[in-house]
Amino acid sequence: MIEGVPLRFRIPEPPARPGERADFSYIVVPPAGSARRPEIETDPSEMRDLAYSLIRVLDDDGSATGPWIPELEPDALYHGLRAMVMTRTYDDRMLMAQRQGKTSFYMRCTGEEAIAVGHALELDRDDMFFPTYRNQGWLIARRWPLVEMMCQVFSNEKDRLHGRQMPIMYSAREVGFFSISGNLGTQFIQAVGWAMASAIKGDTRIASGMVGEGTTAEADFHNALTFATTYQAPVILNIVNNQWAISTFQGIAGGNQSTFAARAIGHGIPALRVDGNDYLAVIAATRWAAQRARANLGPTVIEWLTYRAAAHSTSDDPSRYRPADEWKSWPLGDPIERLKNHLIARGDWSEEQHRDLVADVDREVLAAARDAESYGTLLDGRVASAKSIFEDVYKDMPPHLQRQRRQMEDER
């Protein structure tokens, strides 16, 4: 028996801070193709290893290997590549617009494009996605008009959300994209509720929810897993592990003790841990989880391993808390480069075609930005009317809001 030993308080520390050498030795990267692919009917207790391994399809020279290679038409791959390039170009353009004061705020998803894009293209049109603020790739992949997105970012007179929401907090029901809240984690359990409703009604549609690894700390994350397993809801529960939650590294959400995917095991939910920068792996894992949900086999948890290459937001300066060049050492590379190299290796693509694609996308984004700006930006104040803030608080405006609206007008 050990008696009287002073207890120690332990605080996990990230492997590197500014001025230190980036160190990703904590990320073990197994060879592409090495993770097994169980049948979807497999009992969850017999696939726990997949919560600790890493599903990868694309190897370093761009060839696809192993049991997770998804069947995909070259056209579908091209569409995925284009959507990823478009997402990055869009992000860069909106960042510039923020610097110019045309919007108050922006968040990029640089380096994480494959996840939302692949997920969007693999799920069905009618499924419902409960996104994070870093899932703009979904909208772009589903061809929601860039102009619509930009008008929301500019809070201008064509913004469908009437300037009420912060930039990037889109809502796009017609492409299965649930309204983004901004409060972390709240929507994870809502995805489960939506899926439960679909099952209650004998529908065929499924739901998917995403959170960042930092957000797995919120109670709503745990509520989602509990409800999902209890009711075997047809839902995909995604954790985007991009290593950082603002200045807080993944170890502060418990990531040093186990994988995030492994949170599913205690709930008896199957979990996949997937290379999130590998477009083919994104498609394959999404397909597997969606098939399980559609076959009444219940929920799946997926941890997507990736890296937040950009700042958290335009209010953030990551060089204050992590090595400025950390992204260069990220072992899973750049999702766009990797898919491009794969297409080239297959003989379906060339550097020249890629340059043309980038130029073409650039033009399209620029044209959309011009169009969107013609409806105003935050800079010129062509926003929805002040009066409009009283609408949609309730279905019918109660008398006290009518009074307040009149008062606002009287006091102008």
Binding site: M169, A245, R320, I389
Partner: protein
Amino acid sequence: MTTMAMNAAIRSAIDVMMERDDNVVVFGEDIGYFGGVFRCTEGLQAKYGSERVFDAPIAEGGIVGAAVGMGAYGLRPVIEIQFADYVYPGLDQLISEAARLRYRSSAEFTAPLTVRMPCGGGIHGGQTHSQSPESLFTHVCGLITVIPSNPYDAKGLLIASIEDDDPVIFLEPKRLYNGPFDGHHDKPVVPWAGHPLGEVPDGYYRVELGSAAIRRPGDDLTVLAYGTMVYVAEAAAEETGIDAEIIDLRTLLPLDTDTIEASVAKTGRCVIVHEATRTSGFGAELSATVQELCFYHLEAPIERVTGWDTPYPHAQEWDYFPGPARVGAAYRRVIAA
């Protein structure tokens, strides 16, 4: 004395208390190495070590709950909620636990925590970075609610809050971190340097909880305000030429009713100003209090100027924010009544 911005004054208060009391620990989201998104804890981890200043998982319920446990052990946790808009997952631990621990255990256990959180609008933060939820806390028996309006008070009130043996909600109007703000958003930002209340003693001092301050003495009417609205009320007095007596409440609970009563007894008129939504806002409590204490002195109905009863909009921020024009209009109505 040193010229400090309000975030620096808050940092200084924590620093002073960590130095004086080993039991003070500080944690919250991004507050350790990084020093917090508003830099209120910058340098504290380097000075006191990560066992006393550390990052927390993103779980407000967890942060408050852990602080209650630490308080029960005998520590004095000072926790940060990154934005008041994100405190809601922590409300159960605050309302059902921290606020009632003393009562339900007959003081066998207590919860001497201080819960800091930036509040209020003015930074284009939309509905998730602008809220003023003070009345949710003042409605809970067992909680103390404090809201400073300047660096000097922020430091003295925070020290008093940390020393207090009951749970204290410490709201920090974020638009005041870097300077006073009177609602004229199109004017250049004014820094704290040069403002008398930006001069802050370096060491220990207290501003007692439960004491209001008269920011502007006057005879025409009494204005009850706190946080950012103190400066809006001052601007409105300037612009209307009405001789308003402006009271900065500083602590909402316990409320300094003596100062309020003396002022309204003198002026006979009262305007209440807050940024939070109107219905069931703290202004309703203030209005009832003034009516109870000063009914026979009142010469006009009490007016409230508040945020509209809608979520805080992003693009129409300045239509929502109760600026000097709206406050001034209320002064005129109350004087004319």
